[in-house]
């Protein structure tokens, strides 16, 4: 009964309800406008909301996350520009549909199926998380350490162009996270005798720099791209269509949840895998894939929204983020004094059910905003970049300053922004950096705990590791990634998905 009360908390309070609605609304537009990303929006929002009550801040950010994942599909359909990485697969069939004059129908259908996917994700989260967290209590420090490394390596190998670049980015993040006084012995690390560095580098400044500034700087390359307008007809999808595609939507939703729940894989991979799945199971599509098959639109859209619920499972139960957005989210939870991990569900069950309720609410708002306001939408998305980008810079700077009212944070943000710009330019992924910063202390502390319990003996650590099935699995996965060069796998996946459609 308590759980239900917490679940309904954001539904009954007008302020929380309003904030979730606002967040979802903002998220849809942030996700839809190419050049603005959910990661960027959430990292800027952290800095503005950190003084708020945690419930208010969470409502807003959950809304942005949920809306943002959906919003990317809009521009993918209308402009063939995926507003977010998770909408890349959506563009493959969504844009051909729009070219046939079916943009409205495509948007309507993708909205409904996104919401279906979202609900599947939330239900799985509500059922699985308590079990996972009970299981997680039995985890040893070495398991946490390996989970941390695993998450960074997966993000590094999947998001970047080469594993080496991904590992570099992840290790850099880990190192940034160690700057300051060591939490266990209070020894100085990388402080260069500067007292200001004792507290470390503010992770929010790193996030805003890497995702706000560097992304906006990159947008300056594409200032003069012409926008193609599409005519939008009816938007409420046909009931027969929904009924017909529901089984596929549910299947791909489950793919989405599972992929989302794995550390290191998020909505983008989920959407690509779902697209691949749809292609395999649809024997006789009415329209070939890549030319406007509705199956090819529904599958990735259900999967990427389902991945949101999935991504919350490791985030809330283990404190391990699945991708850059969840890494930023964990940063937000830490700032609000919450400790995501196996004890969160035991010590603060209200937080868990509150989040589940919030996600559900945000999902409903996606449905409402998704099927309305399309005229306003096309106006806002056409907002010229020449105005938009200066505003992003302004918000980034103000955001970085607002965390501690310190100019130093602006310097850090700027430094990481410029560095991130060059990293992106030369094919280094920036997601692992953020994951590294967030996971740094967890990995560091658990490594030291693990080695201390073995009295400093590495051989004992390995022997005990092999006695525990979980540790063995984790260890072998890490070794597997390192030595089978997971880029081959991504190449395979990309080839499989893109080649026939190209």
């Amino acid at each position: 009964m308590d759980a239900f009360n917490y679940f309904a908390m954001s539904w009954l309070s007008p302020e929380l309800l309003g904030l979730t609605a606002l967040g979802t609304f903002l998220g849809i537009y942030v996700g839809a406008i190419p050049g603005l990303s959910v990661t960027m929006a959430v990292s800027i929002l952290i800095s503005f909301t950190f003084s708020w009550d945690v419930n208010y801040a969470l409502c807003l950010m959950v809304g942005v996350y949920m809306g943002g994942v959906y919003g990317g599909s809009r521009t993918a359909i209308l402009l063939n520009i995926p507003g977010a990485p998770s909408a890349i697969a959506t563009a493959l069939d969504g844009y051909p549909l729009a070219k046939k004059g079916l943009a409205g129908e495509a948007i309507g259908l993708s909205t409904v199926m996104s919401v279906v996917g979202g609900f599947v994700g939330i239900i799985v989260l509500a059922i699985a998380a308590p079990t996972v967290s009970e299981f997680a209590i039995t985890f040893q420090p070495r398991d946490y350490m390996m989970l941390g490394i695993l998450g960074i390596m997966l993000v590094g190998s999947l998001s970047g162009s080469s594993l080496a670049r991904g590992i570099f980015a992840g290790a850099l993040g880990l190192l940034i996270g160690t700057v300051g006084l060591d939490p266990m012995t209070a020894e100085e690390r990388f402080t260069f005798g500067v007292v200001e560095l004792w507290d470390g580098i503010n992770p929010v400044a790193v996030m805003i720099g890497m995702f706000g500034i560097s992304e906006a700087l990159h947008q300056l390359h594409h200032m003069n791209k012409a926008v193609v307008k599409q005519k939008i007809s009816r938007i409420i999808p046909k009931w027969s269509d929904i009924k017909k595609y529901m089984p596929l939507s549910l299947q791909t939703s489950f793919i989405g949840v599972i992929v989302g729940a794995l550390p290191g894989t998020g909505g983008d991979i989920a959407a690509l895998m779902a697209y691949d799945h749809a292609k395999r199971v649809t024997k006789n599509p009415k329209v070939p894939f890549g030319e406007g098959a509705k199956e090819g639109l529904i599958a990735p859209e259900s999967a990427n929204n389902a991945a949101v619920g999935g991504a919350y499972i490791p985030m809330l139960t283990l404190g391990i983020p699945g991708d850059a957005v969840t890494a930023v989210f964990i940063g937000a939870l830490f700032i609000h004094g919450l400790n995501p991990g196996p004890l969160l569900l035991v010590e603060q069950p209200h937080m868990f059910w509150f989040t589940v309720g919030n996600l559900t609410l945000a999902n409903i708002f996606v449905l409402i905003f998704g099927l309305t306001g399309i005229k306003l939408f096309s106006k806002i998305v056409e907002c010229p970049k020449g105005i938009l980008i200066p505003l992003i810079f302004l918000l980034s700077i103000v955001g970085a300053y607002a965390i501690n009212n310190a100019i130093t944070d602006i310097w850090w943000m700027l430094a990481f922004g410029v560095f991130g710009y060059f990293m992106r330019l030369y094919g280094f992924p920036v997601g692992p950096v953020i994951l590294g910063v967030i996971l740094s202390s967890l990995t560091d502390e658990n490594w030291r705990r693990a080695i201390l319990t073995e009295r400093g003996s590495v051989s004992d650590l390995f022997i005990n590791m092999l006695h525990s099935p979980l540790s063995t699995v984790l260890f072998s996965v890490i070794v597997l990634i390192l030595f089978t060069k997971s880029p081959i796998w991504t190449k395979w996946l990309k080839r499989k998905v893109f080649r026939p459609s190209a």
């Binding site: 909301t49 590992i167 690390r189 010229p384 810079f393 302004l394 103000v398 330019l425 030369y426």
Partner: protein
């Protein structure tokens, strides 16, 4: 670990230098990590930074060696495709913004910043730019300063007096 996606079989101008700088930076950080507690024990405060920076050295060396093998991309010029003047200009603008922010205050600095950058990027008549700048600044100010209650540097503008005189008008 030499397998790379097709887009990276060529290298962009400056990529080699950037990767080389990363190697240098990683080695420097490795040395700094060594200075924390040396190779004293596996659970020392320096052990984890050492491992992380060692991974950086290794990964950056591999990347650098790969760029040595890769042929240069054709028709890509550094000043045009990689680091166009507009990016440098905006970077400089943000730098100046953060230098003068505390002394001049949020409102003035942001006004100038928005005006220059919108004029530069949007290229309309100064009057249009002025209108857009004013409007967006007012919206940002209301949302963040008044609704979100974010503390922003006041600088030379007597903001609080202005605000209180405005609120007193309502009473």
């Amino acid at each position: 670990m030499s397998s790379q996606s097709p887009s990276l079989t060529t290298r962009k101008p400056g990529e080699r230098i950037f990767c080389f700088l990363l190697v240098l930076g990683s080695v420097y950080l490795f040395w700094q990590a060594y200075k924390i507690s040396g190779f004293s024990s596996l659970s020392s405060p320096g052990a984890f930074p050492l491992a992380a920076s060692a991974a950086m050295v290794l990964a950056s060396c591999i990347t650098f060696l790969n760029t040595l093998k890769a042929p240069a991309a054709e028709d890509v010029r550094f000043v045009y495709h990689c680091f166009p003047p507009v990016v440098a200009f905006i970077m400089a603008l943000i730098l100046i913004y953060s230098v003068v922010l505390e002394s001049l205050g949020f409102v003035l600095t942001s006004f100038v910043f928005l005006f220059i950058s919108i004029q530069f990027l949007y290229r309309r008549s100064p009057l249009t730019t002025l209108a857009i700048t004013l409007l967006s600044l007012i919206v940002v100010y209301i949302i963040f300063r008044l609704v979100f209650q974010v503390v922003l540097p006041e600088g030379i503008m007597p903001e609080r007096e202005i605000l209180s005189s405005i609120t007193s008008l309502w009473r």
